[in-house]
């Protein structure tokens, strides 16, 4: 399979995603420059973390107008897999590919720490290889990662089982103390209704090797790889 990692001006984690996929997973990966069209057959596009266009306005608000985003939206509509991490998640919300918004952390400060995440749904290409209820140890690092949506949207997310990851304590309970940013319902990651677009605040690329404290991030990337191998991702 082929992965495309989109590089916006101000992307910071693009190289980390690239390295995790290329080195730890031995995958075929290309960088895709934000000013270019998306050419060639990609199976999964990754919108990495960082501060696209400086994020001096609302996070992701500029990036959604970037030339590459037209191609990303088309790709998603055709059923291609799109993964947005941190700033990528923010951009997916801004561009309407995912519902809701990411607002300033409840503590008003940037938060960098390891968190544990409970996997809520496994019938998606992003979580297929993980057991339901399993805990993943993956770090967060963001200033605006508090997930917010109106009551109706939230209800839809629950009914459609679109909440894929919740912040949880060591026992797996989505307790308030385990929530690093005040996200509604301890939401750490959601997918769209069609289940081919996934956004999450934690950084799986920073948890792909035991020497870094965890390799749980690989479980997400290898789920995607396995789904593509089985031909579940249709975008042609």
């Amino acid at each position: 399979m082929r992965w495309g990692v989109i590089v916006f001006p101000g992307s910071c984690d693009d190289q980390d995603v690239f390295d995790s996929l290329a080195r730890d997973m031995e995958q075929e990966v290309d960088f895709l420059w934000h000013k270019d069209d998306i050419k060639g057959g990609y199976d999964c596009l990754v919108l990495p973390g960082g501060f696209s266009y400086g994020d001096y306005l609302r996070c992701g608000a500029m990036a959604r107008f970037s030339p590459v985003m037209g191609g990303v939206i088309d790709f998603a509509r055709r059923g291609g897999l799109v993964l947005g991490i941190c700033n990528g998640f923010q951009i997916l919300c801004e561009s309407g590919l995912l519902p809701g918004a990411l607002v300033r952390n409840a503590g008003l400060k940037f938060v960098c720490r390891q968190v544990s995440l409970r996997v809520e749904e496994t019938d998606t290409p992003f979580t297929r290889e993980i057991k339901k209820g399993q805990l993943l140890k993956i770090p967060v690092k963001h200033g605006e990662g508090c997930y917010y949506a109106d009551a109706v949207t939230l209800e839809q997310l629950r009914n459609n089982r679109q909440i894929l990851l919740r912040y949880a304590d060591a026992k797996g309970k989505p307790a308030p103390a385990a929530n690093p940013n005040g996200s509604l319902d301890n939401i750490a990651g959601i997918c769209n209704e069609a289940r081919n677009v996934f956004g999450l605040m934690p950084h799986p690329e920073d948890a792909c090797n035991k020497i870094l404290g965890s390799d749980d991030g690989l479980k997400i990337f290898s789920s995607i790889a396995a789904a593509c191998a089985r031909g579940e991702a249709r975008h042609g």
Binding site: C12, D55, Y56, F110, C112, I211, L212
Partner: protein, 744 residues
């Protein structure tokens, strides 16, 4: 670009008052007139004032800095460039440096600290290295001083705001609080970058006729005379100098970083330098100075963000995120194309000349014409008077018999753990991205940070250290300990030191006591560098850290870098396993002078700091490193502020898992507070499985290091027989809340 600009304002006449307002003495002015053969005009006066400022010229420190050892087989680039560069094997090299941004951070904490980070990042990538890790060393006033909370919050947010956005992890640092910094905080920023031997760039101008190009942000009026401000003492008046603080734009820095590194893949650059302090003036004249050439600049071509800027303002602006480079003739178009991709300006603003003159034109008129040497090697060098104060002997006098021992040493230990100088710094480092670039193996909170080097089996260890109380009481010993302790931090993670950088923060060099402190600190640092075989490869001096005549304590901060040949051996300070033995390497003496305990509990900053035997220091570090390399240890922790008691508590409570208690039954028979809180040097506390003790004893014997099994790990209580015993959770709570609860 084509339009001719005219100097929008008439230049003021150069008078004695104007000369004094530029921070130049009458003697210095006379020297300028002699070097030029005439009186300078207003623009030239401005150029001299920044280039001859303490900040740019090192005029008071140069004489002493020469004493520091700067050589070693691994050193590829020593001091004098934008950063030092050291070989780490596999064809790779690291560039690193530390720099101060003290005065701006006191005036405007967020922007001051942010632009400090921006400046040090540029110093690294201008060498061709990609920045992969930052550290910082911070000093604030007393925790309950009304300004401390505001300054701490602003500085930490500024460091995070800038570093996080540029995508360089802040992997460690240190932070201390003391009244001596109430009106003059210290913000020292360190960055390390990685490159190959083949890709090292320097700030040199060469090749007559080669174009001089300006890349990055446009020039505004921000930061004019920043370098001069950094070369003056503070007074109430100076707080009004907010406009001299620059404003940072980390997004543009990120673009500049990527564009420069992309450009450096090609063979287009002759030399490149950051426009830092004194901006266009210092970058161009220093590059010309190193190359023995001249430079002609056409200021009309400099991209501006404000209208009606004068040549004086353009030359002296310290607008951020700008670089100056000398390109190979004929590559201008290619360079422009790369910067276009990143939406940045790249403009030819001049060329290299053979006349060894710094010349600036504006609207076709020559506005400055100065021999390059007058701005660089002919700048004044002073050997200022130095004298120890008469009160020093009295300061060093400490009658231990008159110091009462606390009744409950358990309570005292908790107080120390809750001291903001010792307590958890989590409130600070939570705000820094320490994972980006996905290399972080040992995150903030250990003796040293450890990062991996992708594509190799190696790791790098990084630390910053410095104890200004020791330096105040005995500058020589304090200077030596600053170096020794940084190296000990590296030994505790298993790394071998390869080089250091320093920030030397002192009061006014015009004060003989300060000069004496400076000279003695350098002397101590030199002796420790030689004994531990660590060269100084870069650094920075910050004088005039005083307010209304009261200097800060002399504060050298040392940033040290080490290599781990086997990354998987990287050690951490916390206990891992119940039943492990606890072993003390080194010996505890009754040395309470200058200790955190004496200050916190008895309100005293006096006595002599702990003595340091550099031979023993080297042996203890070697022993610890070898034991780690052989896989004998489960933890290793440096004993420093707060002594053995605090170090043992930290081993119990600072780990990511649940705290592990201990029982200590065997120790030296000295007074209890000294046993627990003496800061005797050259000590490391380690834990290991009992079966490895024999091998550790063999190594210690070979190094001639005193070794004592003092107890064992386990349980939920922290017991030191017969002095104290309490639940380990109580210690954890005191330590965890000590800083966090006081800054909320």
């Amino acid at each position: 670009m084509g339009e001719e600009r005219e100097n929008p304002r008439a230049e003021p006449a150069v008078t004695a008052e104007l000369v004094a307002a530029h921070g130049l003495t009458p003697d210095e002015y006379a020297k300028i007139v002699k070097l030029l053969g005439r009186a300078p005009n207003y623009t030239e006066l401005g150029v001299f004032s920044v280039m001859w400022s303490e900040h740019c010229s090192y005029k008071s420190s140069r004489h002493y800095l020469k004493r520091l050892p700067t050589e070693g087989p691994q050193v590829l680039q020593g001091p004098g460039e934008n950063a030092g560069v050291v070989d780490i094997g596999d064809g790779l090299a690291v560039a690193f440096k530390m720099e101060s941004h003290n005065h701006p951070s006191f005036i405007e904490p967020y922007q001051g600290a942010a632009t400090g980070v921006g400046g040090i990042l540029r110093d690294i990538f201008t060498m061709g290295a990609r920045p992969i890790a930052s550290l910082n060393s911070l000093r604030f006033g007393a925790i309950d001083h009304p300004r401390t909370g505001y300054l701490l919050s602003g500085v930490v947010a500024g460091i995070g705001g800038y570093g996080n956005c540029v995508g360089v992890p802040t992997v460690g640092g240190e932070c201390y609080f003391d009244e001596c910094y109430n009106a003059n905080i210290l913000v020292n920023a360190f960055t390390l970058g990685i490159t190959t031997h083949k890709r090292i760039f320097t700030g040199i101008a060469k090749g007559i006729g080669n174009p001089v190009m300006y890349v990055g942000s446009k020039t505004g009026r921000d930061g004019i005379h920043g370098a001069t401000m950094a070369s003056e003492s503070f007074s109430e008046e100076k707080e009004r100098r907010r406009p001299t603080v620059q404003v940072g734009d980390p997004f543009t820095e990120k673009l500049l970083l990527e564009a420069c590194l992309e450009l450096m893949e090609k063979d287009y650059i002759v030399g490149i330098q950051d426009m830092g302090a004194a901006g266009l003036t210092s970058s161009s004249s220093e590059m010309a100075g190193r190359g023995g050439v001249g430079i002609e600049l056409d200021l009309s071509r400099v991209p501006l963000r404000e209208t009606a800027m004068t040549p004086y303002e353009i030359l002296l602006s310290e607008s951020q995120e700008r670089m100056l480079l000398v390109a190979r003739k004929g590559t201008e178009e290619e360079i422009r194309r790369i910067f276009d991709k990143w939406d940045l300006d790249a403009v030819v603003v001049g060329h290299v000349t053979d006349d060894r003159l710094f010349r600036a034109l504006f609207g076709g008129t020559e506005v400055a014409r100065i021999p390059v040497a007058a701005l660089t090697k002919d700048a004044p060098v002073y050997q200022r008077p130095a004298a120890s104060p008469a009160s020093q002997d009295q300061l060093q006098h400490l009658d231990l018999a008159a110091i009462p021992e606390p009744k409950d040493l358990g309570v005292t230990l908790k107080r120390l753990l809750a001291s903001p100088n010792i307590a958890s710094k989590e409130w600070i480092f939570r705000q820094y991205d320490h994972y980006v670039r996905s290399n972080t193996v040992v995150a903030p909170g250990a003796d040293a940070a450890v990062i991996r080097i992708k594509g190799t089996k190696k790791g790098l260890a990084l630390t910053v250290d410095g104890n200004s109380r020791y330096c105040y009481l005995d500058p020589y010993v304090g200077g030596a300990i600053a170096v020794a302790e940084a190296a000990r931090n590296l030994a505790c993670v298993g790394a071998r030191p390869i080089g250091l950088t320093d920030c030397l923060n002192f009061g006014s060099p015009e004060n003989p006591v300060v000069m004496w402190q400076f000279a003695d600190v350098i002397h101590g640092m030199r002796d420790a560098c030689v004994a531990l075989n660590v060269p100084v490869v870069s650094g920075n001096v910050s004088f005039y850290n005083e307010t209304d005549g009261t200097p800060i304590y002399p504060t050298p901060t040392v940033g040290m870098v080490g290599v781990l040949d086997k990354l998987e051996c990287a050690m951490t300070p916390w206990f891992k396993s119940a039943g492990d033995l606890i072993v003390l390497l080194g010996r505890t003496r009754e040395e309470l002078g200058g200790s955190e305990y004496l200050k916190l509990v008895h309100g005293l900053t006096r006595g002599t700091p702990p003595w340091i035997d550099l031979k023993m220091e080297r042996a203890v570090q070697g022993c610890c490193r070898e034991a780690i390399e052989q896989g004998l240890l489960r933890s290793a922790h440096d004993i420093s502020d707060g002594g053995l008691g605090v170090a043992l508590a930290e081993c119990s409570i600072i780990g990511p898992e649940k705290p592990l208690g201990l029982r200590i039954e065997n120790h030296e028979m000295i007074r209890g507070d000294a046993l627990l809180f003496s800061e005797s040097q050259s000590r490391i506390v380690v834990s290991l499985a009992e079966k490895n003790l024999g091998e550790l004893e063999e190594i210690a014997a070979r190094y001639n290091v005193p070794l004592q099994v003092i107890g064992s790990v386990g349980g939920s209580r922290f017991t030191i027989q017969p002095l104290l015993g309490l639940p380990v959770e109580e210690l954890r709570a005191a330590w965890a809340g000590g800083l966090t609860d006081r800054v909320k």
